[in-house]
């Protein structure tokens, strides 16, 4: 019996290549391409008065310089609004190159194409743009105030206002024995993948086709958007995501201005053109996320049970809304976590500011929602003097209440209905792991040494694997090699390994023979993309279904050859044999030969399939009526709704009595993503997620001044954690299979990040004894708070 691959900590297939310099990221391609650089706005809000390119023309090596005026037809029209929503009544998207006005520092104004990037940047330096400055709207309060607006055509800065209510919150609040109100704040951060964005376009003027390589999370999305902008038939455009150096959300946004301009310039100039984003460009022109102000009013009984939850929040969407209001919708719905709110009303305002646009960053609105809910739980516990874990437990949705319908609409336009989860079991595991019940002793011991420590907790539920669909295509070659293609993309999640594990099991072939391709529209043209922790759920199930199709076909062909019924056959290790008679067998490569009747023999294997080989029944057509040649097949997985993963984290922090330095002493995670395909990869996702969460809790923030300048637009000043700042993560798992999909899996990609700010705030509050209401928190902020509460 071959070992089942599913569930094994299999070493990654992609690693030897990536470890030896064999990776091919965007800038590793196109060495002879022209390169682009951009003049970007130095102002947050201004009218463009004049653009003078005369001096730049003289730079030797400059090929072309483009401004908005040069963009023909729909290329010069606004970029698409990707996700419209009825509540998004005042949407605005930008242009590929700014038209008349700029709305954030970093907005692209002029594109220069030159023989290389050095020359292109020389030319950029020599282009003079005159601006008439306008007042900048920076920060949520200024946006909410609305006395200055970002976009002239609107009277205020509210792009969208949405209210959802379940039950009568007013009445429940009025009747509640206790109420509390919390004002909370979360600052901006950003994905900051180590590889920035990048595009390489290759125009073939002979057959008028375009190949795009983009460091994207959605190659099908980029392909469709560019084809539409350039007026090309889809059949003439292909898009490939090569190796991608991290995404975390920023690369699901598309088309970025450069993704339209670079292919357009390549066609114009009939020459390969490439643009590789540098780090400063990434800071000032690629999206950010997180910034919200929140107000929570909660009504509860003497036991701490929720009766009413009334949430208002204000969400900074930056200068444009191409990605719609997905982030605030997720905050509004996923805020509820594992709890029953009694009655729930949530209302948000999504606001324009003169800053970089805001689109999903790992967690995508959930960290903010989790922060609001978990701060509320701690506030109730504190008010009633009940154990914080106990308050949570009293409000849990119980396993026997699953599936649990919250009565709200989720980010996919479908009901917010939890499919499974065992929250009491998760909490019990977490308490055990962190030593919750013994913490009083731990604290006393620390205090005896003059140290201050605190214990924090945070729970979340994450809707993962949203639709609409993903597909899998599988092709078995005559030597037994199995090619698997799925359309969504990879940014380090190990899909070449995890998906191969699934196919190896389902098809009954050796893992080593399975080769997975992702994010290449030549191999799978129908796909959505990698986001919302959906890749394993969507493509995992799609390739499993496709493998079942191919297996059924292989058994049909083998049954004919062996003159038995398909039901009597089994496949193991790439060999199809009669059950109980292992000698009576045929290998899957031979079945692949037989599946494709040939006229021409190109190798030894092919000979057997040619017309005089005598291997076929002369009374039947070479390809049966309902058959197709080739041992291949495809299928798609399209679920009715998301599947809900969950987790609970706890941390012990120490705060220095003098300096207010904050150190995480322990970080514990209980995680439930259903059945795990590869625990090694799942844990890796959790470690990385927690590290990003720690960054967001203690170090990372986008510091804009009042005029809209981003003051810390470099790795020197934006403090991304190094190994010295990230705690060792102690993780344990619960596997509550999802009943919604054949493999019983749920997503894991964002899990680690979601509750971290909530957990660290909880722990600091526990150490210090006063409320923590804003994250991230620095030592100097903690020090100031201490003085205020002294």
């Amino acid at each position: 019996m071959t070992t089942r691959q599913f569930g094994q900590p299999v070493q990654r297939r992609e690693d030897p290549r990536l470890l030896t310099g064999g990776g091919r990221y965007l800038d590793d391609l196109g060495h002879t391409a022209y390169e682009a650089a951009f003049v970007r706005s130095p102002h947050a809000h201004a009218r463009i008065v004049d653009i003078d390119t005369d001096d730049a023309i003289d730079v030797d090596g400059v090929i072309a310089i483009y401004t908005h005026e040069d963009l023909p037809g729909i290329i010069g029209e606004p970029l698409p609004l990707l996700i419209p929503h009825p509540a998004l009544t005042q949407a605005r998207t930008g242009y590929a190159l700014a038209k008349d006005e700029v709305n954030h520092v970093g907005e692209a104004v002029v594109m220069v194409v030159a023989t290389n990037r050095y020359v292109a940047e020389d030319a950029v330096e020599r282009i003079r743009v005159s601006y008439e400055r306008l007042p900048a709207v920076v920060g949520i309060e200024a946006a909410r105030d609305g006395s200055q607006t970002v976009h002239d055509e609107y009277d205020d800065n509210v792009s969208a206002h949405l209210l959802q209510e379940v039950g009568d919150v007013e009445a429940a609040l009025a009747a509640a024995p206790h109420t509390l109100t919390l004002d909370l704040e979360i600052e901006r951060s950003a994905c900051q993948p180590l590889e920035g964005k990048g595009v390489l376009a290759q125009w073939n003027s002979d057959d008028e086709s375009l190949r795009i390589y983009s460091s994207t999370q959605t190659s099908t999305g980029v392909r469709a958007a560019v084809a539409a902008k350039l007026g090309l038939p889809l059949a003439k455009v292909e898009c490939i995501a090569p190796d991608v150096g991290g995404g975390f959300g920023v690369k699901i946004m598309h088309p970025w201005p450069e993704e339209v301009l670079v292919p357009w310039a390549a066609r114009n100039l009939d020459h390969d053109v490439k643009w590789t984003e540098d780090r400063r460009e990434h800071f000032i022109s690629s999206s950010h996320e997180r910034g919200q102000l929140q107000q929570v009013t909660v009504g509860f009984d003497d036991e701490g049970r929720l009766l009413a939850l009334d949430v208002k929040f204000w969400h900074d969407n930056g200068a444009y809304t191409p990605y719609g209001i997905i982030v605030p919708i997720i905050t509004a719905t996923q805020l509820l976590g594992p709890y029953k709110p009694g009655t729930y009303r949530v209302e948000f305002w999504s606001l324009f500011t003169n800053t970089v646009l805001v689109t999903p960053y790992r967690g995508a609105g959930r960290p903010q929602g989790c922060f609001a809910m978990e701060r509320t739980m701690d506030a109730i516990a504190r008010y009633l003097e009940i154990d914080r874990a106990e308050v949570r437990a009293r409000n849990f949705i119980l396993p026997e209440e699953m599936p649990y319908d919250h009565g709200l609409m989720f980010q996919d336009g479908r009901p917010l209905k939890y499919d499974s989860g065992d929250f009491p079991a998760s909490l019990a595991k977490l308490k055990e792991l962190v030593g919750w019940d013994d913490f009083a002793d731990y604290r006393a011991a620390a205090e005896a040494e003059g140290r201050k420590v605190g214990l924090g907790i945070g729970c979340y539920v994450e809707g993962t694997g949203v639709g609409p669909y993903e597909g899998g295509h599988i092709h078995v070659e005559t030597d037994g090699r199995v090619n698997v293609a799925t359309g969504l993309t990879t940014q380090g999640q190990g899909h070449q390994t995890a998906l191969a594990q699934i196919v190896a099991d389902e098809l009954g072939v050796p893992f080593e023979n399975v080769h997975v391709t992702t994010g290449d529209t030549r191999r799978m043209a129908y796909a959505v993309g990698t986001f919302a922790s959906r890749a394993a759920v969507m493509s995992g199930n799609a390739v499993a279904l496709a493998a079942r199709v191919v297996k059924a076909k292989a058994l049909r062909i083998a049954a004919d050859a062996l003159e038995v019924s398909p039901d009597d056959l089994e496949i193991e290790n790439g060999v199809i044999s009669v059950k109980g008679a292992p000698g009576n067998s045929i290998d899957i490569g031979t079945v692949a030969v037989m599946s494709n009747p040939l006229r021409y023999a190109f190798d030894e294997a092919a000979k057997k399939a040619t017309q005089f080989a005598g291997t076929f029944d002369p009374d039947k057509p070479p390809v049966g009526d309902d058959e197709e040649p080739g041992l291949e097949g495809q299928d798609f997985y399209s679920p009715t709704q998301a599947t809900f993963a969950n987790g609970m984290h706890a941390a012990i922090v120490e705060t220095d009595p003098q300096t207010a330095e904050i150190t995480i002493l322990r970080y514990c995670v209980i995680h439930d993503c259903g059945n795990m395909i590869n625990p090694l990869i799942v844990e890796g996702q959790i470690h990385g997620g927690v590290a990003q969460g720690v960054g967001g809790a203690l170090y990372e923030r986008m510091v804009y001044d009042d005029s809209g300048q981003l003051l810390n637009a470099s790795f020197m000043d934006f403090l991304m954690p190094y190994a010295s700042e990230v705690p060792h993560v102690e993780a344990d798992h619960l596997e509550t299979p999802s009943p919604l999909n054949p493999l019983g899996i749920k997503g894991a990609g964002e899990a680690g990040t979601i509750p971290v700010s909530a957990v660290i705030a909880s722990a600091i509050e526990d150490a210090e004894g006063f409320p923590i209401t804003a994250m991230p928190i620095s030592p100097s902020e903690l020090w100031t708070l201490r003085r205020a509460h002294a």
């Binding site: 030897p16 993948p193 590889e195 150096g245 380090g492 060792h728």
Partner: protein
């Protein structure tokens, strides 16, 4: 639109293109990379990272920030870690440069650090990885038996956005073990 085809008549051929790159003072530079001498004529301002990546096409050295903070571009110059984005190619004249390709360029020839990363899931997207591999390889030459704390410290000058570092620290310790097992001189 300003079409400037008259200023750049050269479209075809790498050599012709290279001629056109020169907007800066040119120098002939010979750098010993991964054991072989490479001579190129480059502008004074050409970064070592670009020289390695685009002139020699050794794209294993990655560029994450170009301002010396992330460490993705770390190579070994005469055996010691150096940030290739903070050096000009001309500064590498007559020096020995080792890139990740020079430490092991295929699955069968991976060095102890590369092997340890594969075993311990020390990488996800792999973009930061070459900088870690070079840094750790050099470190283990001096410190063949690091403690966990030392292992964490040695990787604390490189940024990774994917892994949370836990498995990188584990990889350092595992690499040290593999190196000791192989009995290589410390």
């Amino acid at each position: 639109m300003t079409e400037l085809s008259d200023l750049s008549p050269l479209r075809a051929g790498a050599a012709a293109l290279a001629d056109n790159l020169l907007t800066d003072e040119l120098h002939e530079v010979t750098v010993n990379v991964n054991g072989a001498a490479h001579t190129r004529t480059v502008p004074a301002r050409r970064l070592l990272s670009d020289f390695l990546r685009h002139d020699l096409r050794l794209t294993g050295t990655h560029v994450g920030c170009e301002h010396g903070v992330c460490g993705a571009c770390t190579v070994l110059v005469d055996g010691a870690p150096a940030r290739a984005c903070l050096m000009f190619a001309v500064q590498a004249q007559s020096h020995e440069v080792t890139t990740v390709e020079g430490l092991g360029s295929s699955a069968d020839s991976m060095n102890h650090v590369q092997q340890a990363f594969a075993e311990c899931h020390g990488l996800q997207c792999g973009f930061c990885t070459p900088g870690f591999i070079t840094t750790i390889t050099s470190f283990l030459e001096e410190n063949p038996d690091p403690t966990e704390e030392e292992a964490r410290e040695v990787v604390s000058g490189n940024l990774c956005r994917c892994t949370g570092y836990q498995n990188i620290v584990k990889s350092v310790l595992r690499a040290a073990e593999l190196k000791r097992e192989a009995g290589e001189p410390a």
